[in-house]
Amino acid sequence: MASGDFDASDVELLQWARDGDRDAFAEIYRRYHQVVFRFARTMSGSASIAEDASQETFAVLMRDLARYEPQRARLSTYLYGVVRNVTRERLRKERRFVDLDSANVSGEPASHDDPGSVLAHAQALAKLRQVIAALPSRYREVVILCELHEVSYADAAAIVNAPVGTVRSRLHRAKKIMAQQFQKPRRATSVATAVSRCLA
């Protein structure tokens, strides 16, 4: 790949990588490693599994460079499909579904409002992560794809190998489940409530 070809299309990069161009493959990695890693991380609830799954995903791409057909699916769709399969396989082997590591639960506050609301927001997000992690994988994957990664229904359908209508219904069902989880009565002595009382 010539220097300054960072605006090359995925198809061009793939062609160059197929011919052994290291820089072209590095650019493909640069473009897609974040979405691959984030998908695997949210899907598995584990940064270490996500790291392994990302590594395996790019190994599969390396192996299948000659067989990949750009006219059949975009590279992003292909990579989502691969990382989905790799992550599911890892989870099936390890039987590990709701093991959120600490990095998942913590996060920077979204705003700098009063500490009580910031903490409540962080708690809500932590709970959302737990709820997503507890969803059946067929629901979890469509939530991650369509809601968190903003993948279109059509692309999500191609990734999970299901009709678009199925993707829509799974997403709706998943949101219903999540809403039900949030409607459950909370503990009266939640941390956010306690902090709000202290600051009042």
Binding site: Y29, Q55, A124, L128, C146
Partner: protein, 184 residues
């Protein structure tokens, strides 16, 4: 974000999902991941360069070449056998074993065309698989590998005429280097 409902509880979930997406967008994979992946790339290409046939397309090319060569050899073999010399079930062909059949030199195997074999000409060895029963009609009994087939080498001259045929020597049987038993 796909918001296609008016349910307030679902709206709350949507807002949380938006916030989670924004938070996740800041997540960066560890830097060592890129190092590992590119190391895999380097290893893969080093292996491919040291072994050209490890590439899938190269294997496909080799397979097509072997298949074409086998087809050509089979055609040449069938044309090289005169109709009168073709064996019947009751009377096997009298093939000529030049050097007792166990030698490793260029003269070993079954002589198919006597006159042509004596002429000095450039030869090509074509390796093909054929039915053991077909080989038996030439007077060679070889234990089949699988699917009742044996691997043989056919010596083909520049004129396309097959001169000799011999089974491929099995490496796993040092006691019987050729694996051939000739009919009397």
């Amino acid at each position: 974000m796909n918001t296609d409902h008016g349910d307030p509880s679902l709206h709350h979930v949507d807002r949380l999902l938006e916030a989670m997406a924004a938070e996740d967008a800041r997540v960066e994979p560890p830097a060592r991941l890129q190092v590992v992946v590119m190391q895999m790339w380097d290893d893969t290409w080093r292996r491919r360069q040291s072994s050209p046939l490890s590439d899938a397309s190269a294997w496909r090319g080799a397979w097509w070449f072997a298949a074409t060569a086998a087809a050509v050899a089979a055609m040449v073999l069938s044309l090289a056998l005169p109709q009168s010399a073709r064996p019947t079930k009751s009377e096997p062909a009298h093939a000529v074993n030049l050097q007792g059949g166990a030698g490793g030199g260029p003269g070993e195997g079954i002589l198919l065309v006597a006159d042509a074999a004596l002429e000095p000409t450039a030869m090509t060895v074509v390796r093909v698989r054929m039915r053991a029963s077909v080989l038996a009609t030439l007077g060679m009994r070889v234990g089949p590998d699988q699917d009742d087939t044996v691997t043989v080498e056919v010596l083909v001259g520049e004129d396309g005429v097959a001169r000799r045929i011999r089974p491929v020597r099995p490496l796993s049987d040092p006691a019987n280097p050729t694996g051939v038993k000739y009919q009397r």
